[in-house]
């Protein structure tokens, strides 16, 4: 088993998950509660990675991350970091690639909060921030956890974008899925089988957690509504 690739993948998925939670909460709030004219465009941009072939997304990111591009020069001058074929570049690419997996469950959870509860909190003197902190966030716990699990699992399983942006550098950008591809190319089927089984088990557990969370939250809501 390629432990180096496994550890790097876990580090990548954890970093992406943490960053996406910070990004997804305000984005989902804006999508759910502000009826702006151009909201549909923002939603379409966020959902793009769902339909775009990973190689297409990876190609554009590779171009954008090149040392001669604006983004590449900016990262170099501000943080002395090269984005192409590096771990930071992999993180940035994965954040963009997994954005819909974080934003959509959170936005759905925010939208499902009964507007009457928000009105009640406002009439009781709560500011928008307090309303968000004390009503929306706790009632959206399952959606936020779902977003986190899906983001983590999706980052663990990504292949095309990672290969395009990160290449295949052991210890720096080689993730589990690329290690499996490498094993197969080298006819090392035993190692590929072990790593694939691990990924299969992980994906099943992640999905079971997501469905369990959503089942619990729908029970909670139906109890609250029927009471």
């Amino acid at each position: 088993m390629n432990w180096q690739a496994i550890l790097l993948t876990v580090r990548l998925a954890t970093t992406v998950c943490a960053l996406l939670l910070v990004i997804a909460l305000p984005l989902a709030y804006w999508i759910s509660f502000f009826n702006r004219r151009w909201r549909f465009l923002v939603e379409a941009v966020i959902a793009l990675p769902l339909v775009l072939p990973p190689t297409v997304l990876g190609y554009y990111m590779l171009v954008a991350f090149s040392p001669h591009s604006f983004l590449g020069r900016l990262a170099d001058s501000l943080f002395s970091v090269r984005l192409a074929f590096s771990f930071p570049g992999l993180v940035l690419a994965s954040v963009i690639y997994s954005l819909p997996f974080a934003v959509q469950p959170v936005a759905n959870a925010f939208s499902a909060v009964d507007s009457r509860l928000l009105h009640a909190a406002a009439v009781l003197g709560a500011s928008r921030w307090r309303c968000f902190r004390t009503i929306i966030l706790p009632l959206s716990k399952a959606g936020i956890l779902t977003g986190a699990v899906l983001t983590f699992a999706h980052t663990v399983g990504e292949f095309g974008v990672v290969l395009m942006v990160g290449g295949n550098i052991q210890g720096a950008t080689q993730t589990i899925s690329i290690a499996i591809y490498d094993d197969v190319q080298a006819l090392n089927y035993a190692s590929a089988a072990r790593t694939s089984a691990l990924l299969l088990l992980f994906s099943f557990v992640a999905l079971a957690v997501v469905y369990a969370l959503n089942r619990r939250s729908s029970i909670l809501w139906s109890t609250a509504r029927s009471a």
Partner: protein, 236 residues
């Protein structure tokens, strides 16, 4: 509850708001301290009037003033958010926070007070509405009557300028309803604020209202004592 100076409270509302292409809310009224009943059939616009007063809906034009505080004035571009209006509103569906306990619900509007004071006030108001034993219970485990009492306690604890009640007793049996009305009336003897009570029940309107405003198709078509208005309109 926090002491408030005794004064004559008055709620003045002038609301014009298009709810749909064929339904316009267009009403003007003043209510004094005590119960006033907003009476009308379902879909007459009663809840929308309360929503406008509370600041949940923004009228296209008009003026809303309570206790000499202008909450909304389209001409002067004043529009206080609901959190700054200090109205208490008991919604038709009560809107209790399902993830908070009874006490946490009741003290939600007392965030400006110290924790100990919040708890004391919360316990006191729950006891007053016969719900002292429910303090630590989850709102999901309450009966219909218990939920109504908790919602009422939660709205009154904030020492509001006016109280808006949207058919809050509709789901209760007669005995519980009478008890709640007694508790509300005794509370209002001390606080003397305008209470706008929405109902479509003639019996409730007769039992409660010192004054009745009859709403039809978004307009207040008659105002007066229950006997005057309800006789005149032949609601019985």
């Amino acid at each position: 509850m926090v002491d408030r100076p005794q004064r004559v409270s008055l709620l003045k509302a002038e609301i014009r708001h298009r709810l749909s292409s064929s339904f316009v809310l267009d009403c003007k009224f003043e209510i004094h301290a005590g119960f006033s009943v907003l009476f009308g059939a379902s879909g007459a616009g009663k809840t929308s009037i309360l929503d406008c007063i509370a600041g949940i809906k923004r009228p296209e034009s008009g003026r809303i003033e309570v206790d000499e505080v202008v909450c909304f004035d389209s001409a002067k571009k004043i529009d206080l958010p609901p959190s700054a209006r200090r109205m208490a509103y008991v919604f038709q569906d009560l809107a209790l926070f399902p993830h908070l306990s009874v006490l946490e619900n009741v003290i939600y509007g007392l965030d400006h007070l110290r924790k100990e004071t919040r708890q004391e006030v919360g316990h006191a108001v729950l006891a007053r509405f016969g719900s002292g034993h429910l303090v630590q219970r989850s709102t999901r485990d309450l009966s219909g009557g218990e939920r109504q009492r908790v919602a009422l306690a939660r709205s009154l604890v904030t020492n509001p300028r006016a109280l808006l009640l949207d058919e809050p007793l509709a789901a209760l049996d007669r005995a519980t309803r009478l008890k709640m009305i007694d508790a509300l009336q005794s509370w209002n003897e001390e606080h003397a604020i305008p209470i706008l009570y929405v109902t479509h029940s003639v019996r409730e309107a007769l039992a409660l209202g010192h004054r009745v405003l009859v709403v039809e198709a978004g307009q207040v078509i008659a105002q007066g004592t229950p006997a005057e208005v309800l006789d005149r309109e032949s609601w019985e």
